[in-house]
């Protein structure tokens, strides 16, 4: 087995793992805050429907959190097993950021989750409310550190060389690197949207199953209204993030827009089948001068094409398609959320076809989030850390056979876990809050 196969397997395994993992944090980061909200509503009103709501969603949270924890532990090992070159080269920066995540977030959320799940009758009410807040704060701090590191890999800053070693010169610049504020906000909003569609979707499912349910009506409304507010914000932040990428990672933008040649008055490619072999688009539908207008706000401005970045250009087709899936899902989610917020105004119950539609959108956030991560991570290739370390330089000594065997094990385990997770989620939602 030659080195390129090992690289492919290492990437497949890590990609599978990280894609599986991100499903759960993207739900729990915001769901933690929603639980805190439900808990506060109950503490203030004493309304048993809010308590029931809190208890039902606590179960969903605990399950999702456990899935995130176990797949996250796996990732903490795979940094070393799959990418030893990564740690050798940038360990002095990546290591401390990961350590801060463990220290400031993991213990906080795990410990207070125990109190939150099992301690309601053992601690005073305010301590329990505080525990719910700690869990939500913990998940958000965790996102902060991991996105600081991820953003640094996209737009490195604040580092310097000490002999042959890459070290941090200024930690504040490392953490608050150029793409971090955009990426962090984009991810938090993505989590907000993921959680609100899961909450709305499962509540709609409950209403379809039971006819009516006070708790499910409350959460359907909560989810839809939250999504209706967050969706337009996300589109705005996503656009700003894109402009930031144009400034710092123009190669990624060229791949997203499938612009092959550097030209003035570049067209906006709405749809095409990009051909990475021959560096051209088939079946293209374009708006003349559109890309120059959108990216540079000037129809005659020059836009750099993929060719300008060879040999370090990103693969175009996957980035191009993933970007369109993300944006398409975003627009659909916006429409669904606004329709839903309107249809549930003043305590109204939406029609059945609409409830079916919301149920269908339960995991819309996952699709958009995964597509977004594919865009940004594949769009960085062949770099692992832009301008500093190429992915193929980081792959390690594990043999193809070891990678293959463990990859098979992971695929089986993840498939079983995901099926069981979805079955239990549907089952919990079907039983509703009184279960």
């Amino acid at each position: 087995m030659d080195q390129s196969d090992v690289l492919l397997l290492a990437r497949a395994q890590f990609g599978l793992n990280i894609a599986f993992h991100i499903l759960f944090p993207s739900l729990t980061i915001a769901l933690g805050w929603l639980l805190f909200y439900f808990r506060i509503r109950y503490a203030r009103s004493g309304d048993p429907a809010w308590l029931a709501t809190y208890k039902l969603w606590t179960k969903v949270f605990a399950l999702s959190f456990a899935m995130g924890v176990v797949s996250g532990i796996t990732m903490s090992f795979q940094f070393g097993t799959n990418w030893p070159g990564y740690m050798q080269r940038v360990g002095n920066i990546a290591g401390p950021l990961l350590a801060y995540e463990v220290l400031t977030a993991f213990f906080l959320e795990a410990t207070f989750l125990g109190v939150m799940l099992f301690g309601m009758n053992r601690v005073p009410g305010w301590v329990h409310v505080l525990s719910a807040a700690m869990v939500a704060i913990g998940t958000t701090i965790s996102a902060f550190w991991i996105l600081a590191l991820n953003s640094w890999m996209h737009t490195p800053a604040g580092h310097e060389m000490d002999g042959s070693q890459l070290v941090a010169g200024d930690w504040l610049q490392v953490i608050f690197n150029p793409s971090f504020p955009y990426r962090f906000t984009h991810m938090l909003l993505a989590s907000g949207l993921t959680a609100s569609f899961v909450v709305a979707g499962l509540s709609a499912w409950r209403l379809l199953r039971s006819g009516d349910d006070a708790s499910a009506r409350k959460t359907l409304r909560t989810g839809l209204v939250l999504a209706a507010v967050l969706a337009p914000l996300q589109i705005l932040v996503g656009d700003l993030h894109g402009l930031n990428t144009l400034e710092h990672q123009p190669a990624k933008i060229a791949a997203i827009e499938a612009i092959w040649k550097t030209e003035k008055g570049a067209p906006l490619v709405l749809f095409a089948v990009p051909d990475d072999e021959r560096r051209r688009n088939d079946f293209a539908v374009e708006i003349p001068k559109g890309a120059s207008l959108v990216l540079r706000h000037d129809p005659e401005a020059e836009v750099q094409g993929v060719e300008a970045f060879v040999p370090d250009a990103a693969p175009v087709a996957p980035v191009f398609f993933a970007f369109r899936v993300m944006v398409g899902m975003g627009v659909l989610m916006l429409l669904a959320a606004w329709t839903g917020a309107w249809a549930t105004r003043r305590g109204m119950l939406p029609q059945r076809w609409m409830l079916w539609a919301f149920s269908g959108f339960t995991f819309a956030g996952w699709i958009a989030t995964l597509a977004g991560w594919l865009v940004t991570e594949i769009g960085r290739q062949p770099w692992l850390v832009t301008g500093i370390l190429r992915t193929r330089e980081a792959v390690g000594g594990a043999s193809g056979a070891q990678l293959g065997a463990s990859l098979t094990g992971y695929i089986i385990t993840y498939t079983v876990m995901l099926i069981a997770y979805l079955v239990v989620l549907t089952h919990l939602a079907g039983k509703g809050a009184d279960a």
Binding site: G80, G91, G397
Partner: protein, 330 residues
Amino acid sequence: MSLDLPLVFAALMGLAILMYVVLDGYDLGVGMLMPAADEREQDLMVASIGPFWDANETWLVLGVGILLVAFPAAHGLVLGALYLPVAAMLVGLMLRGVAFEFRVKAEGWHRGLWNWLFWFGSFLASFAQGLMLGRYITGFHPGFGYYVFAMLVGASLCGGYVLLGSTWLILKTQGELQKKALAWARWGLLWVALGVALVSLATPLVSHTVQAKWFDFPRTLALMLLPLATLAAGWRVWAATGRLKRGEREFDWMPLAATVAIFTLAFAGLAYSLFPYVVIDRMTIREAAAHPSALKFTLVGVAIVFPFLIAYTVFAYRVFRGKARAGLYE
């Protein structure tokens, strides 16, 4: 003033690993004991570890995290050499982690399946950790004998975790289940005795460095305190379980405390053998250490966060003190 940063981080990593072994050890042990209990007892056993297992496993992430941050060169070497047992451990930890959640929500044969997976995951993770320990202390030498040795250490660590789990249950339960746990603890103790003896005899045989450190008179005499104290702690477990069995006066936390003492002493012995190596006879903590700027920055975080971490961990154990109660998310 200059701190010896590699030494500080070696100590921190040791602490994190010891915390992990003791804390996740008891909940892995409880998982392995599942088939020996009836359905009602199983619910109680799971309830006794419910509030803690997430945080317990976080110590593993901290341990491997410190290895990664402070000793990056060793991190790649160790995890590369242990690739397959690490993967097996991770699959085991995943299975038991989610089985924990799924089993309470499942009904009928599904519940039986998740109970089985909870047991299997706990066993797989424990055995794999023992394998990793066995391979690690023999310096990853290839050869049939070394693999057999690693398997024996794997089995012994399972025994050790069973001992931790059953003494945890002695503390957290009462009545029939506590009686059962007393019997389990004694079996676990025998396994631990075998395991500790095995590792103590094998490490000096494998490595001259280790041999020289232990057999260096008159220091050897002082060092003999370590095995003697371990023996005393083992005897304490045996005696305390005996008294509890016969219904005589004894603290229900005594067997657990003495077991933790055994683990701590064995760990101290191992640490003494290995120091200053992070990979025995191949790489010292100084050779493997990361750049001082990374270590300093991390140490600031550790210094700030550790007091809080300890405080809320103690808080959580206080909230859930006393005997376990069955029931989900009350």
